[in-house]
Symmetry: C2
């Protein structure tokens, strides 16, 4: 198995990405890796000889984090992102992972690898923590203004993901809404409910945000605008609370002491809800494996994103989505 | 000044609502209060004689928290909610507050008090904590599928609210979006931007969730479905984190000790971000003052909701919205 890694993508590229690749191999990862990016820069980071199982593929261009995704991909055919997608299309890699411009990753996957026949729109998922472990939430930003038909496919693809990648043999699938009763929701949610009810096994209707944490569903589906705002709201709230606790509690002597005593416990909790543990998530609906990692990925996050890429290939995620959601 | 209080509305009605009214008066609140609800029940709670400044107005019916709002309001003309709205329409009260079925409160306000002429849809706001104090976020649930024209009015009404009720003479108004760059957002956000740009003083474009906590805007505007999901996501995330901390940290001896030491600091932070402090928020765009309090309101929350009602009346919020957003 061979995985292409976009070495130039992300806020901490290329150093942390290269370190993530080395970490993956050093921690027993079996897939061969192709680091894609400016060869001289990458060689300088690795310094000594390139370890076995890792090769470097030169790509002269880079899509910046703030570039217009579709334009950048069109105008830079030799960007690390486009080269990764082409390696997969041409069968020279089995999947790729990037912490770069996520719109760019999607554009490259879409233009170069293409959609699975019958899938209207690809969707991007994210792992969210719950009181019992985690749930899978999509779409967190691949699409805005999704039609109900797209939403219904997101739900069906999410079900495949939960089964094949998360070990949930009978996933419960829900729509994120402003109330759990049937009839709540905006027009999109209500129409999607009509499409899914009785047709998707495991569909349980609406959930509210508290139900996600309450582990009431394995897969939670939203339009990409709503999902992106919701997941960013969750991240921003957690950041705000931890920052406020860190600033306010040490203002008294007992608070300072107490803060030191609870530090290991807090760290454990932060780790449990840390996106770095989950690494990244494949774009569902692409005719190939393309994994989007967080733009702020460090070496640990990138190592985990490569692991997710490997799992998607190993579990034949794309073939299973094609069989269940695609059209021959 | 006279304020009608729906004594039967909310998860903890009537006891906590009545206690909230007593608390308001006992803590120096000057407005006269009319407790609206089942007279015998209310008299039994007050037990001794009704204190000066408080009267009771019998209303035989109650709209339950889970009833269909519009139907319940139509079918129960003598519900406490409808009686409150009628007292205001008929000039026998200057405003009202309810912790009851919020859809019912909106339906009663809309059917009985009516909209300000020229306002397309009423909107419901909420106070959200930020690193520098708080911001005003609307619509958090009065409408779904808002047209851009409605959104633009929400922004204009929010600006009036920030100026008249929150002491922000030149409020910064933003749209909640999935990215701060212009062009980000769904179709509704992009179209609303076109309507507001250059026409609403203080309009600063898009903000992301982290910018709300970063105090980048005084007023943040969203469609009611998106806003409701976003605010519920923030509440659910905070609840999840506090619960996880409370459960996990005492699992070690030092964690238990540390937890005790930081308890006062944590309580202070919880209080600062506690919705009970803010009590409630008026429905903007109604031709009269109608304040929606949280369904879980206890006496303290209800006292604060009555204070908000008083402020809205005192500051002539409705007249100012009429002048700036309405049409003669």
């Amino acid at each position: 198995m061979k995985i292409a890694v976009d070495a130039m993508g992300g806020d901490h590229a290329p150093d942390e990405i290269v370190r993530g690749a080395l970490l993956y191999r050093a921690s027993g990862g079996e897939a061969d890796l192709v680091l894609v990016g400016r060869e001289q820069e990458l060689r300088r980071i690795i310094a000594s000889s390139v370890p076995p199982g890792i090769t470097i593929r030169n790509a002269t261009d880079v899509v910046a984090m703030d570039e217009h995704p579709a334009q950048a991909v069109r105008n830079k055919p030799d960007s690390s992102i486009s080269v990764c997608a082409r390696l997969c299309r041409d069968g020279r890699a089995d999947g790729w992972a990037s912490a770069g411009n996520s719109g760019g990753v999607m554009a490259a996957a879409l233009f170069i690898q293409g959609r699975i026949k019958g899938v209207e729109r690809p969707a991007l998922g994210s792992i969210v923590p719950t009181q019992e472990g985690f749930a899978y939430f999509l779409d967190v930003g691949a699409n805005v203004d999704s039609k109900p038909e797209y939403m219904a496919q997101f739900a069906a693809m999410g079900a495949v993901y939960a089964r094949e990648m998360l070990g949930r043999p009978e996933p419960r699938i829900a729509l994120l809404s402003n109330g759990e009763e049937e009839g709540k929701g905006d027009e999109r949610v209500r129409e999607t409910t009509r499409l899914l009810k009785g047709s998707l096994a495991g569909f349980i209707g609406n959930v509210e945000p508290k139900d996600i944490y309450g582990a009431r569903a394995d897969v939670v589906v939203a339009d990409g605008f709503v999902g992106n705002v919701a997941i960013k709201m969750a991240e921003a709230t957690a950041d705000f609370l931890f920052r406020t606790l860190r600033e306010e509690i040490p203002k008294t002597l007992s608070g300072m002491l107490g803060g030191l005593l609870i530090r290991p416990g807090v760290r454990q909790i932060r780790d449990r809800i840390d996106w770095r543990e989950f690494g990244g998530a494949p774009l569902l609906g692409i005719d190939g494996v393309a994994v989007v990692a967080h733009g702020r990925s460090d070496a640990r996050a990138m190592k985990n994103a490569i692991r997710v890429t490997r799992d998607a290939i190993e579990n034949q995620l794309v073939g299973k989505i094609r069989a269940e959601v695609g059209r021959a």
